[in-house]
């Protein structure tokens, strides 16, 4: 944020919150509907993509990450990357064992 007032936060309007909530509900109904369609190998991929979009909405707007100092985003990125590395290494080991 601009002048770095340490104890002030960006205010988000009620309508933005409501819009995010409606999007989250819409994505939930999409994910439930899509689960009934046979997509074979893509089922998990589609479900995880939708979950990722929902998470991004919650993290950015509800959890205010979008309006926090950049360092918050760096930390978030590092922890997400750590999880990715753990998953990749485990599956690399598991699949090529």
């Amino acid at each position: 944020m601009q002048e770095h007032h340490n104890n002030e936060t960006h205010q988000i309007s009620y309508s933005t919150y409501l819009l995010v909530w409606v999007s989250l509900l819409a994505l939930t109904s999409i994910t439930v509907t899509v689960a009934g369609v046979h997509l074979g190998d893509y089922t998990l991929f589609v479900a995880l993509m939708i979950a990722a979009i929902k998470s991004a909405l919650v993290i950015n707007i509800f959890m205010h990450i979008k309006f926090e100092d950049p360092i918050f985003k760096v930390f978030l990125g590092i922890s997400g990357f750590t999880l990715l590395v753990i998953f990749s290494l485990t599956f690399f080991d598991y699949i090529y064992r």
């Binding site: 007032h5 340490n6 104890n7 002030e8 936060t9 205010q11 988000i12 309007s13 009620y14 919150y17 409501l18 995010v20 909530w21 989250l24 509900l25 939930t28 994910t31 439930v32 689960a35 009934g36 046979h38 089922t43 479900a47 995880l48 939708i50 979950a51 929902k54 998470s55 919650v58 993290i59 707007i61 509800f62 959890m63 205010h64 926090e68 100092d69 360092i71 918050f72 930390f75 978030l76 922890s79 750590t82 999880l83 753990i86 998953f87 485990t90 599956f91 598991y94």
Partner: protein, 206 residues
């Protein structure tokens, strides 16, 4: 260093630091659940067809209902912070009360869901479950551990929110100092985030 708080001779505080502390704690929680999701991923890969069979037993409507409840409670807690920022204390208190009620509703649903499963003889170590193939035993083991731990988080979040609700009512959390409410909200959103992944992974395997 022109910090506006010095002018109002308020005691030293650092809300960004407080929120960062909360975020760092949330990252450790993320890694805890990440480990469980990893176990789930490996076993789902190994026992894909049995996971599908086992998942058919889960009640999709209760899962979907609880998803809607949690998303709505995330909205109400976010709105209550917004209301307090604008100085609308009563609205903020009302929204926090609604959040509490939604959290209780989630637990009531969970109670009915689990008691039906247990009634059908599906619980860790039950005779019925142990006679099923390995993949299904693993599915239900993960189901009880992961949704059970998540339910524990719901209870912790509920207690956390209720304590902060008390602070808002007494006025120690107010328009000018509400980082405690923000941090309780962050914790609650984490609980919501975890459910966003648990729901499709357990209830939506066709």
């Amino acid at each position: 260093m022109s910090n506006p708080t010095e002018l109002t001779h308020a005691p030293h505080r650092d809300d960004v630091g407080a929120r960062m502390g909360m975020w760092l704690f949330l990252f450790t929680e993320l890694l805890l659940f990440g480990g469980l999701f990893l176990v789930y991923a490996v076993y789902r890969h190994e026992y894909y067809s049995q996971f599908r069979v086992a998942a058919l037993e889960l009640n999709l409507s209760i899962g979907a209902l609880n998803t809607v409840i949690l998303l709505t409670s995330s909205l109400t807690v976010a709105l209550s912070i917004g209301a307090l920022q604008k100085g609308q204390k009563h609205l903020s208190v009302m929204l926090l009360l609604i959040t509490d009620i939604l959290a209780l509703a989630f637990m009531v649903n969970k109670y009915f869901e689990w008691s039906t499963k247990i009634h059908h003889g599906i619980y860790p170590g039950s005779e019925h479950l142990l006679n099923l193939p390995d993949g299904q035993i693993l599915f239900y083991g993960l189901y009880y551990i992961m949704t059970g731990l998540h339910a524990l988080y719901i209870i912790i979040g509920l207690v956390f929110l209720t304590i902060v609700l008390g602070f808002v009512i007494t006025g120690s959390v107010n328009k000018d100092s509400y980082v405690k409410l923000e941090n309780a909200g962050l914790y609650w959103h984490l609980v919501d985030l975890i459910w966003i992944f648990l729901f499709p992974l357990f209830y939506l395997i066709q």
